[in-house]
């Protein structure tokens, strides 16, 4: 079992690390009790993913996958970014991860998707609230 150079590069120089102070959406995946955990926060401007930040606790593959995913989607249109698959992420990491490490792709893609859902939920809430207000006002 050994990692490609692209993975190691993302591991030791991870891109987009951190958390947005005022995110438009954020999501977490994984098992807080003992497994790997990934957290993404996103900032959206005019349907573009303007800012992506992530944090990961977990194996090297998880950290690298988070970094590669954040790099991949930052600046993309929201729907484009939401369509990014595990396969795209694999490509960004130079190819398949070592056997037994594939879960890293799922972990970070899930966390990003949850951040999008959160964004849409908030948006929907806002729209609803707006609509409600509108109906009301």
């Amino acid at each position: 079992m050994s990692y490609r150079p692209q993975v190691i590069d993302h591991l030791v120089r991870p891109r987009n690390v951190g958390e947005l102070a005022e995110p438009d959406g954020s999501g977490e995946s994984g098992d807080a009790a003992c497994g790997d955990i990934a957290r993404f926060s996103v900032g959206v401007r005019e349907n573009v993913l303007a800012e992506v930040r992530y944090k990961v606790y977990g194996c090297a593959a998880c950290i690298a996958a988070g970094s590669a995913l954040a790099e991949l989607v930052e600046g993309e249109g929201l729907l484009e970014a939401a369509r990014r698959s595990r396969a795209d992420l694999e490509d960004a990491l130079g190819g398949p991860l070592p056997e037994g490490k594939e879960h890293a792709l799922t972990l970070v893609v899930d966390a990003l998707h949850k951040a999008f859902e959160d964004y849409w939920d908030r948006l929907a809430g806002e729209v609803l609230v707006e609509g409600y207000r509108g109906a009301d006002g």
């Binding site: 079992m1 003992c34 957290r39 194996c59 950290i63």
Partner: protein, 397 residues
């Protein structure tokens, strides 16, 4: 690849230059099979027997009590399976084993295999430092116990067991006692005249000797059933053409260790203490295993908020080769790469998160204080970076 500082001596040590010379000198022509009748065969046999003497001398054994094998794993397997099968052959009721919960997989899985074929195994627990209690061992022994196995020193956390007491308990109750001394030989004084083990496993590549060659001490009078079959080499207990050059190299390593082990251990201990001092000065970094009763070269560090694999790879990228703290239950088995800690830290009462946060830094006789200082700098940087990355270390990173 950039040059690297090697701090993973528990995984394997470098080959000492003098052992390498001995090995290379035996690689020249002619090579012969020690079982051959002609003079070259006889000369090869003598090389093997001289090495046997050196290995015996290192451990206080007689040459006839030393068998050469293909490695530590094979020595362990031969002892555990061989003692068990000899016991059950003598008395079919003797199908009980007592094995510590912190054994290397070579012993643990051999015991589990026996368990799957109808033996009962009592797994001996350890305290928070990884120590087996001799009284617990004593209570676990039964008339039908075929063997007990407790390692000399643990390959993960470095804790050294009270082997003399453990062995005496077994001797008093006439139960064969196997001791895996793979991490101990060449680092600690290991003397079978003082510690009444029945069998003792060790291998060259853990004390600056060759890889692919192991040894098993079998005390005179101890019955072992063969577990492999063939030409009947090594008293019928390990068939196969001997690796004469490798065996000669093991003899050379044994001679070196006999003369220099104390000095090696003194240096290892100094470096290790420097390392532990520096590392545990970082908040949230603690030493695992026994504070005093430990291998001279082993620092096993729990690093809060960090996952070991990433930390190892970070240190590697800075030029320092260290090990994960918890051997994968399935190391080397690519298909089984599930994230599962070895039973050692669990047996010591640590939860999985802490188990996965541990790294093993093991120094060697040829490391320098400067290397340790360089490592400590790289290590603290890596820890800080990984904590910054971690959603679990929020507020602090």
């Amino acid at each position: 690849m950039e040059s690297r500082v090697y701090l993973d001596h528990a995984a394997t040590t470098p080959l000492d230059g003098r052992v390498r010379d001995a090995l290379v000198s035996h690689l020249g022509e002619p090579r012969a099979n020690p079982s051959s009748l002609h003079g070259l065969g006889t000369a090869a046999r003598e090389v093997v027997e001289e090495a046997r003497e050196a290995v015996a001398r290192l451990t206080g054994a007689s040459p006839r009590e030393i068998l050469f094998t293909g490695g530590g794993t094979e020595s362990d397997a031969l002892a555990v399976l061989g003692l068990a099968r000899a016991a059950v052959a003598a008395d079919p009721a003797r199908r009980h084993l007592v094995v510590s919960a912190v054994e290397h997989s070579a012993v643990r899985k051999a015991a589990e295999h026996l368990e799957s074929t109808g033996y009962r195994v009592t797994w001996l627990g350890v305290d928070g430092h990884g120590l087996v209690d001799p009284r617990e061992l004593s209570q676990a022994l039964r008339p039908e116990t075929a063997l007990a196995a407790v390692m000399w020193a643990n390959n993960e956390v470095g804790t050294v067991q009270p082997v003399e007491e453990l062995a005496r308990v077994c001797r008093e109750q006439e139960v064969p006692f196997h001791c895996d001394a793979v991490q101990a030989v060449g680092h600690l004084p290991v003397d079978v005249t003082e510690v009444p083990v029945s069998t003792l496993a060790f291998t060259g590549h853990k004390f600056y000797g060759p890889s692919g060659v192991g040894a098993l001490y079998v005390r005179d009078g101890v019955e072992l059933a063969p577990v492999s079959f063939g030409g009947g080499q090594e008293r019928g207990l390990r068939s196969g053409t001997e690796d004469v050059a490798g065996i000669a190299a093991l003899g050379a390593a044994a001679r070196l260790a006999a003369g220099e082990r104390e000095e090696w251990a003194r240096r290892e201990r100094e470096l290790r203490d420097r390392l532990v001092r520096g590392a545990t000065a970082i908040p949230g970094v603690e030493l695992n295993g026994h504070p005093a009763e430990r291998l001279p070269n082993n620092a096993h560090l729990a690093v809060e908020g960090v996952e070991a694999e990433s930390l190892v790879l970070f240190c590697d990228a800075s030029g320092y080769a260290i090990g994960k703290g918890s051997a994968c239950a399935s190391a080397g088995e690519p298909a089984g790469g599930e994230h599962k800690a070895s039973p050692v830290l669990a047996a010591m009462g640590q939860d999985e998160r802490r188990a996965f946060s541990a790294v093993r830094v093991t120094v060697g006789k040829d490391n320098t204080p400067e290397e340790i200082d360089g490592f400590l700098e790289a290590f603290s940087g890596a820890v800080a970076q990984l904590r910054e990355l971690s959603p679990l270390y929020a507020g602090r990173g």
